[in-house]
């Protein structure tokens, strides 16, 4: 049986309205053949995890440009663990200083993309590191 298409939830957690990057990533992933669900803005971590579970997502891409990444990324990971969904790959991007990147990777964020990243790098990451659940 052919493998199911990888499903990615692209989400904007928190109150930050900078959605240019999230929308571009959502579109680039869709154009690369993935199934993409874009949550829209101002989502709570609870809403994002609920969407991911409901949509049977294989990965969540989080975009934060407000400086609130430490709290919001960690909260999403925590909720996924609580729901027994730690196999959902979490990656993200935004204005994220290097020392925070190390801290976020240590708690389970798979990859973080900062300004200047090509959409092709993100597509490649999803292709190489995210598998569709069977």
């Amino acid at each position: 049986m052919a493998e199911r298409t990888v499903r990615v939830v692209v989400a904007k957690p928190g109150l930050d309205g900078h959605d240019r990057g999230a929308k571009i990533v959502a579109r680039a992933l869709r154009d690369a053949g993935f199934e993409v669900i874009y949550t829209g803005l101002h989502q709570t971590p609870e809403q994002i995890v609920a969407t991911a579970l409901q949509e049977d997502a294989d990965a969540i891409g989080l975009s934060v440009l407000s400086g609130a990444h430490n709290y919001l990324f960690k909260r999403v990971l925590e909720l996924l663990r609580e729901k027994g969904a730690e196999d959902v790959a979490v990656f993200g991007g935004g204005i994220i200083p290097p020392e925070d990147i190390a801290g976020l990777k240590a708690v389970g964020v798979k990859e973080l993309f900062t300004p200047g990243t090509s959409t092709q790098d993100i597509v490649r990451f999803v292709r190489e590191h995210v598998r569709a659940a069977v």
Binding site: G17, K23, I24, L41, G67, I95
Partner: protein, 549 residues
């Protein structure tokens, strides 16, 4: 045959056949084709008076004031805000001591979205992207020892701008400064929030109604205050072209004018205080052309479409800011060069006010050192380059004038399409500007990815071993401290008074009377920004965005 065509055939083409031009796209950043040469023939369709006129006179293409920078330099206004009110107050005082001439306040995301610091939705965001504000107590600390009768303050705040205006006027009153001496600007441009910046509480109709309340209130009581700064900046940063920025911004402006006219206000009573805010991006001439086209178009709209009779009503006064989105995280010092060139374009474009971005903003909020370089960049332009000695020094450049005409025509086409949809609120409901911007943003990204658009230090001239830079950290303890302070302050209020004020506000929202007078009383009794926003949520309902990507 025209002289230009003759030159092309006689000299240019044979030369290009032997020595080809560089293999780049000869088009502006917005995709306007750029010819090898412009001559007087490109400007033959309009007279000098129609196209340009004179500074301080209709159609204001060359500048809104008769003396421009010979009379007074542009206002150097650096956007600042982070952490607790006292942290930002200290930065304000530092900037004033460095020769800055106006203040500009950045609020944190909870304040911008209508939540107090102690609200669960504020977690992780308090004081991060701007200063944390919940009650008048915070506002008093933000402006402590800053004389509001002497300094003008710009505030980048939109769906909660009514609260910020109420608090600002309350602080002025406490300082003993009469409202008619208070000057400043509220961004308060809700239409572009739905299009681009995406901070909102309630849907467009009630949001614009509150904006109109503020236009009406300031026209009567705070005559030196600009109640709205009609902003292209965020539209551009969200990914639009320069033409789309020009068109959507002016179309938003027309939306406010129409709302105020529908309220029964006389156009000349409020139009002089409408102000604008444009992005200044990398394409040097296109950005200068954009500001000139904006002035000419706005003057025509105000005179011909709305019958304004006062020249002040036709004057498009604008703040400008260098393009945050053009800054790179790679080789961040290169941003200083980008900002300098963009700032020069703003000045050559005749801006009234300018914020120069700091080179480290792709990493975090700027350090004091980075902000100082950005401010000094403006001071170098003002004091050393001699570009401010004559008015509109590039006026008459064949290329610039042809580009100005071209941008005007392309933007007018968009404005007509929005008119045909029934105005900007209807266009937003249909997702039109949002989709146009998303498409343009994606096109730009693909051009970057393919290297068709060169980004120095990123997709060309990249370096692998980059030195890390020093950047600003907001201590996590700031959030906890601010939350605690707000909780304590709120607990000590007279809640009967607060609740009565909030009920009066709800009543004003429902019965259509101007919200400002009761809102000012409410913040004086320490009703908080979040509580006022809750009233808006309860009475007007929440906005839900159409999902477009």
């Amino acid at each position: 045959m025209s002289g230009k065509r003759e030159w092309e055939e006689r000299t240019y083409r044979p030369f290009v056949e032997r020595t080809p031009e560089r293999a780049v796209r000869f088009e502006s950043l917005s995709g306007i084709p750029v010819e090898p040469l412009y001559t007087p023939e490109d400007l033959a369709d309009r007279t000098y008076e129609e196209r340009l006129g004179y500074p301080g006179e209709y159609p204001f293409t060359r500048g809104v004031y008769p003396t421009m920078y010979r009379g007074r330099l542009w206002t150097m206004r650096m956007f600042a805000g982070f952490g607790r009110p006292e942290d930002t107050n200290a930065r304000f005082k530092y900037l004033l001591a460095q020769g800055q001439t106006g203040l500009s306040t950045a609020f944190d995301m909870p304040a911008l979205m209508g939540y107090d610091a102690d609200h669960p939705r504020a977690r992780g965001e308090v004081g991060k992207e701007g200063v944390s504000i919940s009650t008048l107590d915070d506002f008093e600390r933000l402006f402590a020892d800053i004389p509001l009768g002497e300094v003008t303050t710009s505030m980048t705040i939109n769906c909660t701008a009514s609260v910020a205006l109420a608090m600002y006027l309350a602080v002025a009153e406490k300082q003993g400064v009469a409202w008619d001496r208070v000057g400043g600007t509220m961004q308060n441009d809700m239409l572009k929030e739905f299009i681009a910046q995406k901070e909102w509480i309630c849907p467009p109709e009630p949001a614009v109604r509150i904006v109109t309340d503020m236009i009406e209130f300031t026209a009567r009581h705070v005559p030196r205050f600009n109640p709205v700064s009609i902003s292209g900046y965020h539209i551009r940063e969200a990914g639009s072209t320069a033409v789309q920025e020009l068109a959507f911004t002016l179309a938003d402006g027309l939306g406010y004018v129409e709302a105020a006219l529908a309220r029964g206000l006389d156009v000349d009573s409020f139009a002089p205080r409408l102000s604008f805010f444009f992005d200044i991006h990398n394409d040097f001439f296109e950005e200068i052309a954009k500001l000139r086209a904006a002035r000419r178009m706005w003057a025509r709209f105000m005179k011909e479409r709305y019958g304004a009779t006062q020249p002040e009503s036709m004057r498009l006064r604008t703040h400008t800011q260098t393009a945050g989105v053009s800054a790179t995280a790679q080789q961040p010092l290169n941003n200083i060069a980008r900002v300098a060139l963009q700032a020069l374009a703003a000045v050559l474009g005749g801006a009234q006010s300018l914020h120069t971005n700091s080179y480290d903003e792709t990493w975090a909020l700027p350090t004091e050192e980075a902000v100082t370089v950005a401010l000094r960049t403006q001071q170098v332009i003002a004091e050393e380059t001699h570009t401010a000695l004559t008015i509109d020094p590039l006026g008459g450049s064949y290329y610039l004038e042809a580009l100005t005409d071209r941008m005007e025509a392309a933007a007018l086409d968009y404005v007509r399409r929005i008119d045909a949809m029934g105005g900007m609120i209807r266009a937003i409901d249909a997702g039109f500007p949002q989709k146009e911007i998303a498409d343009a943003a994606y096109r730009y990204q693909l051009m970057d990815d393919r290297g068709e658009k060169v980004v120095v230090g990123v997709n060309r001239y990249a370096m692998h071993d980059e030195r890390p830079i020093h950047y600003l950290r907001i201590d996590e303890s700031v959030e906890l401290e601010q939350i605690e302070k707000v909780r304590r302050f709120k607990a000590a209020r007279d809640m009967t008074r607060v609740e009565r004020r909030l009920e009066q506000l709800a009543e004003a929202c429902r019965n259509g009377s101007n919200v400002m007078p009761v809102l000012i009383d409410a913040v004086k009794d320490y009703a908080s920004l979040g509580e006022v926003s809750d009233v808006y949520r309860r009475v007007f309902g929440l906005y839900r965005e159409p999902i477009i990507f």
